[in-house]
């Protein structure tokens, strides 16, 4: 791998982001209906005659529906370069501002669930591998396989139905108690956690099984490696074998998956935050699709694209730092 290789990879990241942005832009424009139609429909529902509704909408919405797509495209792209993502047609606020206020909440929920599911999955997987073939292993395998196959949004709906609506233990929406002043107080943090627990749980519950099964498989493979046999023969205590031999070697192959998961989990937030009425990035993205709010939709998709592209890039680049063998990909003769 040469210097060129890295430059090429960085170039790829930009090209990917650019292409996806363009593609999304075109796609969005060809979606049936537009922001006008949505607002007009809303106004008509409120009892206004169609002509009046159209008039209000056109003064209210700062869109130019007659602008040809290529002109709109050039406008939009040049705006991005100076950090201007446009004004949301529905909220009538700068898209950048909305994203900046929403993003941390999404990042919070996603990171916590990712860390929890990864940590828990790894521990469980390693333990299952150690007890391979035991009752515990078979039960855990069944349970984890089941949980992984449940889509996170089904889990979300189930959790919401049971714990919020039926039992009333958790709130049905929001990021924190609105009566409370946001600040570095323990009460505030408690409220944030309280509101975040169900979204986090729905992701964690459906994701940890995958990590556990992956870790189990890798660990079983490592447990059968020659170096493990040597370590045992040389009398190295089991504790060192677990910490220094099995765990690092079994986790390594999962590392790339973890990075990629970070990227894709943003996509998951769209539906999850809608279900929990949790105003993060996904929530606004969903709303923007519903209201055909082109600028907000674009902004949201761009952020997700960037997150995915950068996560994959980081995974690629850092893998060689973590795995001592990664650079040795040359195929030498065995003899």
């Amino acid at each position: 791998m040469s210097k060129n290789y890295y430059l090429k990879r960085i170039g790829m990241v930009f090209v990917t982001i650019y292409l996806v942005t363009t593609f999304t832009f075109v796609l969005i424009r060809y979606m049936p209906g537009g922001p006008m139609d949505y607002m007009v429909a809303q106004l008509i529902q409120q009892g206004l005659p169609e002509a009046r509704a159209r008039q209000i909408a056109s003064t209210y919405l700062k869109v130019n529906p007659d602008q040809p797509i290529h002109v709109a495209y050039v406008d939009y792209m040049s705006g991005i370069l100076v950090g201007d993502l446009g004004i949301s047609t529905w909220y009538d606020r700068p898209v950048l501002e909305i994203i900046i206020s929403a993003l941390p909440w999404t990042v919070f929920v996603m990171t916590v669930s990712l860390i929890l599911s990864f940590a828990f999955g790894i521990a469980l997987g390693a333990w299952m591998a150690y007890r391979e073939g035991s009752r515990f292993d078979s039960v855990a395998t069944i349970v984890t396989t089941f949980l992984t196959s449940v889509p996170y949004y089904l889990a979300a709906i189930a959790l919401l139905a049971v714990f919020s609506f039926r039992l009333g233990w958790f709130p049905t929406g929001g990021r924190y108690n609105p009566d409370m002043a946001a600040g570095m107080t323990p009460e505030f943090f408690r409220s944030v956690l309280y509101h975040g627990i169900l979204p986090i749980a729905s992701f964690t519950l459906t994701a940890f099984g995958g990590w556990a099964l992956g870790m189990r498989g890798n660990s079983i493979q490592v447990l059968g490696e020659d170096y493990l046999r040597v370590a045992r023969l040389a009398g190295i205590p089991e504790r060192d074998i677990v910490i220094k031999y099995v765990t690092p070697n079994a986790i390594l192959p999962l590392y790339t998956n973890l990075m990629i998961a970070i990227g894709f989990i943003f996509g998951g937030s769209i539906i999850l935050e809608q279900i929990f009425n949790y105003p993060g990035l996904g929530y606004y993205l969903f709303k923007s699709i519903e209201t055909r709010d082109y600028p907000l939709m674009m902004g949201g998709f761009i952020v997700i694209t960037i997150a995915v592209a950068i996560s994959i890039f980081i995974a690629d680049m850092t893998y060689s730092l973590i795995d001592p063998q990664a650079e040795a990909g040359d195929s030498r003769e065995t003899y």
Binding site: D226, Y227, G235, I236, T318, P324, Q325, A326, E333, Y335
Partner: protein, 716 residues
């Protein structure tokens, strides 16, 4: 714990005594006895060589010695270990903790698969430290010993300790593992096929070092291998295993020169070597028994030409042939006469076999170069990538019906050259042409293309070192073999195709072919897989097959069989072989029987090439002589033979030495060799050598000062 032995040991000062030791596995098919009631003594401070075909139970014997049989195997019987203090311990009757302490501190082991014996995420140093820590040995003192051991093994301790396992070459990893196994100063070292994955020169070098270590640290070494010639020169005593038992034990000299057991005699006959006439080597008929179903009486009787009724019904016990040599055979007295073999010493001149090569080359290489770029990771973004000179200026013509055997140690570029010759690796300089058509021009549709690339592709085929990996595991043999036929003989009907496949399977001895055609690759043995790979390549009707270490992974006794098959098929199909091997004996067998050539490679160049017997009887290049030295002959310890080479490890192909590339290791090197690169000098009989030694007396080489200090020979 005191145990009083109930029989007197068969050696003077036993360190290990085995009493009716068995290893069994319960399987669905029944109980598998993979070590069958072995009673055996091992002398303190001896080097014991244990040989046998794969699957004969050698590894089971090795792991039983440390009570380390893998689950769900069970070792039974008694294995008495005598400590230096004279205390007796039953290895099979220890607590976990006692066993944990005894292993590595008293009896240590280097086992099969050494290439993956280190944790890839830990530096070598950590491995040493962990072992010392686990046995409560003071780190300072222990690491000092580690340094000494690593130096004893001709490596730079700091460099090795600071490396990750993958940063070391196979030979270095192997030596680091030996050092690791000796770091607690054990008395006994058990080595199970420790060098099997290394090239011959490295194997021989390591064996030399092992001998020194054994003397220096008063070790008892049990060296297990399927490769009889390898241990012949090393071992004090040899023990031959067949069907999970020992069948012959004696001093190395006696077992090699007066083998009494018919199996030992057959084994010696089956080993390709440099001395015996080609016609005298023959494979052993039949196959080794299944551990679930061991034949009654003498286990060798189904394959033994001397078998009588007695052999079929009664188990032979050990008969002493001399005081130090015994064998488990009823008719051992007749074996020498009934199964004679050519005495290696009688053999003098081998008449060269005339080949039937064509005039025009099929494949020609002209000044071919393959250079790889190799940078290093994210930390080295700003370093210039380094160039690996894998192949560096090779001229070679391969004719029809030709066999060219390339030999050389690991990493010298044999595989890259081979792949370049068949057009699967693009050359970065020079040309590669097929019947006059430049292969890469054809590929890129550059200029006038006389022969389309697809035809060239078909004409140049490959069989790999590891037959398993090249066959699709999800396809039956029949499907694997049908696909080339479907592709190249579109007009052939299904029945005809099947008929052809069956006929070929039958031809290569896989009968009944109907049965084999229905199997999946995992249901075949290594030799059988290799045969399927060979047929598949031949079905393309190729002009040249690259056989890359195609027989190296097979058991010694199967190699001759496979090579015979290759020769037979060459006659049928009119193919040429480019045969790659690190073993000169294999190269000799295959190329010699087809009147071909041997080419010796060193660091990306062919340093000597010529007809087989010419090269072997009249080697000119010092490196060729080194390879011949490494190709062990079937002789017992010849005393302390000096290694005809300086340094064990091949220089880095990223930074090849100036002038003659061999000068850093050549015992004949002179000042001029460090500056000037020798060209190919042709002597008689189409024999070419890239070394000044073949030049006339007036060449400046003879005036130049030697760079080798006489006393330095054999040192790194």
């Amino acid at each position: 714990m005191k145990i009083v032995s109930e029989r007197s040991a068969s050696v003077e000062d036993p360190v290990l005594e085995l009493y009716d030791t068995s290893v069994t596995f319960s399987m669905d098919r029944g109980t598998s006895r993979v070590l069958n009631d072995v009673t055996f003594d091992i002398q303190r401070e001896e080097i014991l060589g244990v040989v046998g075909e794969s699957g004969s139970g050698k590894s089971m014997f090795a792991s039983a010695l440390l009570d380390a049989v893998v689950d769900p195997g069970v070792a039974q019987g008694r294995i008495i270990y005598r400590t230096d203090a004279g205390e007796q311990v039953d290895m099979l009757d220890l607590s976990r903790e006692e066993l944990r302490r005894l292993r590595w501190e008293e009896i240590s082991m280097v086992f099969q698969g050494a290439q993956s014996s280190f944790n890839p995420t830990m530096k070598i140093r950590e491995h040493f430290e962990l072992v010392l820590e686990s046995h409560d040995t003071p780190k300072g003192q222990g690491m000092e010993h580690a340094h000494e051991l690593i130096s004893d093994l001709y490596m730079d301790p700091e460099r090795v300790l600071d490396s990750y396992p993958h940063e070391l070459s196979g030979g270095m990893k192997q030596r680091a593992l030996i050092a690791l196994s000796l770091v607690l100063e054990p008395n006994v070292l058990v080595m199970d096929e420790p060098t099997a994955a290394l090239d011959l020169l490295m194997q021989r070098s390591i064996l030399g070092l092992l001998e020194n270590l054994q003397e220096k640290y008063n070790l008892t070494v049990i060296f297990i291998t399927h490769d009889l010639p390898l241990v012949a020169g090393l071992a004090d005593r040899l023990a031959v295993m067949y069907a999970f038992e020992f069948i012959e034990i004696g001093t190395a000299e006696e077992v090699l020169n007066q083998p009494a057991h018919p199996y030992t005699r057959a084994l010696l006959q089956a080993v390709p070597n440099l001395d015996a006439p080609l016609s005298e080597m023959s494979p052993i008929e039949g196959s080794a028994p299944d551990p679930v179903n061991i034949p009654s009486g003498c286990t060798y009787h189904p394959r033994c030409p001397l078998a009588t009724e007695e052999c079929r019904s009664e188990e032979p016990h050990f008969h002493d042939t001399t005081e130090s040599h015994k064998t488990a055979c009823f008719h051992w007295e007749q074996s020498a006469e009934a199964l004679p073999f050519a005495d290696a010493n009688e053999y003098s001149e081998q008449t060269a076999i005339q080949g039937s090569q064509s005039e025009d080359p099929v494949v020609s290489l002209e000044g071919t170069e393959v250079h790889f770029e190799d940078g290093g990771g994210i930390l080295n973004i700003f370093n210039e990538p380094e160039t690996v000179y894998a192949v560096d200026g090779v001229d070679l013509d391969i004719y029809e019906n030709d066999v060219v055997a390339l030999v050389g140690e690991s990493g010298c570029g044999k595989t890259t050259l081979g792949k370049t010759a068949i057009g699967v690796q693009r050359s970065t300089g020079g040309g590669v042409s097929y019947r006059g058509q430049d292969i890469w021009d054809a590929r890129d549709k550059n200029g006038d293309v006389d022969i389309p690339f697809a035809d060239i592709r078909r004409a140049l085929q490959i069989i790999h070192q590891d037959p398993g990996s090249s066959l699709n595991p999800n396809r039956k043999v029949q499907t694997i073999l049908a696909s080339p036929l479907k592709r190249w003989h579109k007009d052939m009907g299904g029945d005809e195709r099947l008929h052809r496949i069956h006929a070929l399977l039958d031809l290569v001895g896989m009968s009944p072919p109907q049965d084999y055609a229905q199997r999946y690759p995992h249901q075949l043995s290594g030799g059988e897989k290799q045969r399927v790979a060979l047929i598949r390549a031949l079905l393309m009707n190729p002009d040249l097959i690259l056989a890359d270490e195609a027989v190296s992974a097979l058991d010694v006794s199967l190699r001759v069989e496979m090579m015979d098959l290759m020769l037979e098929l060459q006659n049928l199909f009119n193919t040429s072989y480019l045969f790659i091997s690190h073993d000169l004996a294999n190269a000799r067998y295959l190329a010699g029987n087809a009147g071909g050539r041997i080419g010796v490679m060193y660091l990306g160049q062919i340093v000597e090439i010529g007809p087989v017997e010419e090269i072997l009887q009249n080697p000119q290049h010092p490196y060729t002589k080194v390879l011949m030295w490494a190709t062990a002959d079937l002789e017992a310890d010849e005393g302390d033979e000096e290694m005809p080479i300086r340094g064990i490890d091949i220089p880095d192909a990223k930074n090849p030495p100036s002038g003659c590339r061999f000068h850093t290791r050549c015992p004949e090197a002179r000042e001029i060799c460090t500056e000037r690169e020798p060209g190919q000098f042709e002597t008689e009989n189409e024999h070419e050598t890239a070394c000044f030694l073949v030049c006339d007396d007036d060449h400046p080489y003879w005036e130049s000062d030697p760079i080798v200090d006489e006393t330095e020979t054999g040192e790194p």
